[in-house]
Point group: C2
Chain length 475, copies 2
C-alpha cells in the first residue's frame, strides 16, 4: 500500500506541476527510512549489546568520512562495484559514498602507517541494491564492524572474531543460530583439484556463493552453461560443497588423497583445525559449522571466511515471520591494506561485520507483537501545577531540578489542567509528578505523586532532588 500511495503521489505531483508550490513528493529516498523515537529505542538496545561486546574485547573506536575518493573504492568489490553511489561532479574531487567499512579501514591504516590495531566502527554504508525493506534490506544501512589488524600467530584473532559473533547473537536472544566457517584457501584448493582452470576461480566462487539461495542443480547449470566449466569438474565440486561438519570433517579432508596434495588446501585445513581447537577452548563449537559451500561474495578475502545465519524465528507471537538470512559475516583479508600502500606493504587483517538492520527488523516485529510498552524518554519527573498562574513557580522549580541533574519536563502551557498533566505522564511513562500549589509554596514543600500507585507525599523542597533520585533509582 505504502508503495502504491507513493506511486500515486508521484503521478499526482507530475500532473500538478503548474498547480502551485506544493508539487513535491513527501518521502525518503528509495531504500531508506526514518527512525522514529520507538525505532531508535530498539536500535539503541541492539547497538548497546554490540558495543558492549566490542569493548569487552578491548577494541578502540574510529570514524571515517561517509564518502571516499572514488578511486579508493575502485577495484575492491568485483561485480558489486556497480552498486556504489557516486556523487555528482560539482568540480574538485570525484567522490563515492562508502560501500562498506572495510575498505575505508584499510585506507585509514595505509594512510596513517598503522600496522597494529583492534578497532570497531559503527556507521552507515550505501549500496544501490534492490531494496527488500520488510526483510531488513536497505540502500542505506548500518554496519557494525570489529577488526584486528597486525601480524600475529595464526588463528588467535580469527577465533576471537567468532567468539564475538557468538556473544552478540546470544546476548540479543535472536533464537537459534549457526556460524558457518570456511577458508578461501580451501575453496581455491578444492577448485584446483576439481579441475577448474585458475582463471575461473573467482567466477566459480561466485556461483558457489549462491548455494544458500538456490539449489545445487541451478548452480551447476550456471557453472557449466554460462561459465563454461566441464560437467565433470562441476560434479566433483558438487560432492565437496555438500559437506559440512566439525573437527571430524576437517580430519577426513586432511586425509583426502586429492585435497591433501594441494598446498593451499592443506594450509587452509590445518589452520581450520587450529581454529576449531581454539573455539573448543572458548566453548562455542556447538554453534560452528565448517561448511564447504560457504564462499562469500567480496573479492578481498584471503583466508578464513564466516557467516552467521539465524535458524528459525521465535514466531509464536508474530503473524508473518520475518525471513532473515545472514546476520553477520566476515573473514581474513591479508592483501587489502597492501593495495593502498605505495610499496605494497601488507598488514594482515581479520574482521567481522554485524548486520544490524536485519537484527533490528526482528527486534522491531517482536516488540510490536509483544505487550511491552517501550519508553522513548528517560524523564524522571513532570513539574506540574494544581492551580492557575503558577507558570513562574513551575519554571523556577524545573530549573532547580535541571541544575541538579534531574531529568524533568513540564507542559509548555501557561495554565495547564492537572488532568492533562497527569495524562501526559501516563502516555509517556514518566513515573513521578512534582506538583506546586499555593499551599505547598507557603509550606515550603512540593507534592510528589507516584504515577503508578497514585500515592502522594509532601516533600520538603530542599529534599526533593534526593527524594526523586531515590524513587527513580538514578543517583
Amino acid at each position: 500500500i505504502a508503495k502504491e500511495v507513493a506511486k500515486l503521489l508521484e503521478m499526482k505531483a507530475q500532473l500538478g506541476e503548474d498547480e502551485g508550490k506544493h508539487k513535491f513528493v513527501l518521502k525518503t529516498p528509495k531504500g531508506t527510512r526514518d527512525y522514529g523515537p520507538k525505532q531508535m529505542a530498539i536500535r539503541e538496545r541492539a547497538f548497546s549489546a554490540i558495543i558492549s561486546s566490542f569493548k569487552r574485547h578491548g577494541a578502540e573506536v574510529i570514524d571515517t568520512p561517509v564518502f571516499e575518493l572514488k578511486e579508493t573504492l575502485t577495484g575492491k568489490y568485483g561485480e558489486d562495484s556497480k552498486l556504489i553511489y557516486d556523487l555528482k561532479d560539482q568540480g574538485g574531487e570525484l567522490l563515492s559514498l562508502r560501500y562498506d567499512l572495510t575498505v575505508p579501514f584499510a585506507r585509514y591504516l595505509a594512510m596513517n602507517k598503522i600496522t597494529n590495531i583492534k578497532r570497531y566502527h559503527i556507521a552507515k554504508v550505501y549500496r544501490r541494491d534492490n531494496p527488500a525493506m520488510t526483510r531488513g534490506r536497505y540502500r542505506e544501512f548500518y554496519q557494525c564492524d570489529f577488526d584486528i589488524a597486525g601480524q600475529f600467530d595464526p588463528m588467535i584473532p580469527d577465533a576471537e572474531c567468532l567468539k564475538i559473533v557468538h556473544e552478540i547473537l546470544s546476548d540479543l536472544q535472536l533464537g537459534d543460530f549457526v556460524i558457518k566457517v570456511n577458508d578461501r584457501r580451501i575453496l581455491d584448493g578444492m577448485f584446483a583439484v576439481c579441475g577448474v582452470p585458475d582463471s575461473k576461480f573467482r567466477t566459480i566462487c561466485s556461483s558457489v556463493d549462491k548455494l544458500d539461495k538456490v539449489p545445487w542443480e541451478e548452480v551447476r547449470s550456471e557453472m557449466v552453461g554460462e561459465k563454461g566449466l566441464s560437467p565433470e569438474a562441476a560434479d566433483r565440486i558438487g560432492e565437496y560443497v555438500q559437506l559440512h561438519g566439525g573437527l571430524d570433517l576437517i580430519e577426513r579432508l586432511l586425509q583426502d588423497p586429492q585435497l591433501s596434495q594441494n598446498k593451499l588446501a592443506k594450509e587452509g585445513l590445518e589452520d581450520m583445525k587450529l581454529l576449531f581447537e581454539y573455539l573448543t577452548l572458548f566453548g562455542i563449537t556447538g554453534k560452528i559449522s565448517f561448511d564447504l559451500s560457504l564462499a562469500r561474495g567480496l573479492d578481498y578475502y584471503t583466508g578464513v571466511i564466516f557467516e552467521a545465519v539465524l535458524l528459525q524465528q521465535e514466531n509464536e507471537h508474530v503473524e508473518e515471520p520475518v525471513s532473515v538470512g545472514s546476520v553477520a559475516g566476515g573473514g581474513r583479508y591479508d592483501g587489502l591494506v597492501g593495495m593502498f600502500d605505495p610499496k605494497g606493504r601488507k598488514v594482515p587483517c581479520v574482521g567481522v561485520s554485524i548486520g544490524i538492520e536485519r537484527i533490528f527488523s526482528i527486534l522491531e516485529q517482536r516488540l510490536e507483537a509483544s505487550e511491552e510498552k517501550i519508553r522513548t524518554t528517560e524523564t524522571q519527573v513532570l513539574v506540574a501545577s494544581a492551580q492557575k498562574k503558577l507558570l513562574e513557580e513551575r519554571l523556577k522549580l524545573i530549573s532547580e531540578l535541571w541544575d541538579a541533574g534531574i531529568k524533568a519536563e513540564m507542559l509548555y502551557k501557561k495554565n495547564p489542567k492537572l488532568l492533562n498533566q497527569l495524562q501526559y505522564c501516563e502516555d509517556t511513562g514518566i513515573p513521578l509528578v512534582a506538583i506546586v500549589g499555593e499551599q505547598e509554596l507557603k509550606d515550603g514543600v512540593v507534592k510528589l505523586r507516584i504515577v503508578a500507585t497514585r500515592e502522594e507525599v509532601n516533600v520538603r523542597r530542599e529534599s526533593l532532588v534526593e527524594e526523586i533520585r531515590i524513587r527513580t533509582n538514578q543517583c
Copy 2:
C-alpha cells in the same frame, strides 16, 4: 605541510599514471577527516555532555537518511543552496546530501503528520564550503540538534532552548561565553522604520549578518553600494545595530517612537521581554545579550534567533589559540513544516544546533597541551602468562572472563614474553594483569598484578571475576 604533501602526492600520482597499480592518492576527501581512537574519545566526551542535557529536558531521538530527494532541499537555504552536495544521476531519484538536520526534521514531521514532538538528532551534515579545518570548519561535520515542535504558549519552549545551550556550554567548560538573542520580527520592523523597501529585507538582513566578521563601515558600503540602499536608511540601521543589552534595552525600544509603531517590531519586543522574564527565572540572563546586530543567515527563521559565541580561550597552555566563533545557534521557524504539507498546515518549531566540531577543536587542542593521558579502551585486565606453552590456558581463562562480562585482552602470540605483556598494559593503561603460570594452575589460583603499584596477589580462580570487579570499580 599536510596540504603541500597532498598536492605533491597528487602531482606524483598524475605523473605516475603508467607506473603501475599504486597510482592513487592516499587521502580523505577535501574538508573531511578521519577520527582516530584518541579523537573519538574526546568526541564521545563532548557528545555525552550534549546528550545528557538533551535527555535531561525529556527529548526523544530520531534519525533520518543522510540524503534526501533533491527537491526536499530546494528553496530552503537561500544563497547557501549552492553549497549542497548532489549525488550523481545513476537512474532513479535525484538525491542530495543533507545540508542541515532542520529541513529533514520538517520533512519528517509533515510526512508523518506529527504536530507535537521534542526530539534531538545528532548526525553529520554536508556543505561544499571552503574548509578551514584548524578552526573546526569542515565539509562533513556533526550537528547536534534539539527542537520543540508544537503549538504552545509563547516563549516557553524558546526559553528552554536557551537554557540548554547555557547548560551544555557550562558543562563543557569552554570558558566564558555569551548567547546573543534577537528576533526576525524586530529586524524586519527595524528595516521597515529605517526605510528599507520590503523587497530588500532579506538581502539587507544578509548584510547585517556579516557584522560579527567585518566592521560597520564595510557593511554599510555593501548596503549602499552593492544593494542600492539609501545612505539615510543605512545610517538609521547603523544606529540600531550597535545596540545590545538586556531588559533595559527592550524597555527602551518599546518606548522608541518609530519602532513601537511597527506591529512586527512591537510583537517581537514584547515576546523578547517575556523571554527575558523566563530566562531570569532560569537564572541565566548573565550570559544573554539582546543584540540587534544578530541576523543569522538561513531563510527559514521567523521569530527568536540566537547564537552562542565563546568570548576567550583559556589559552595558558595552548601555544596557538584556536579562533572559534559561534558554537551554537538556532531560532524559531514556524513556516518550514508548512512548506512540506500539501495543505500548508503549519507546525510552529523552535530549536538549537550545537556546533560540535568547533567545540571539539578546542577540547582536542586543550588535551594535547595538557599532560592528561587519555585511554582509548576500557580493558580491565590483560590475561598473561609467565612461561611458554600456556596459550590454551590463557584462552580458557580469557573466555571465562569475557563470559562474566569482564573487559579483557591478551596478546595474540603463542609465547609472549612477560615483559612485553606488562609493557602493553603500561602503553594502553590496562590496570590489572591476570597471570597464569604452571604453579598457579596447580594451586588453582591466578596471580593478579596491579600495574600501577606492581603489587601481586594470588586470587582463587573462582573469586577472580569478583576481585577484578572490585579492583576496577565496575560492578
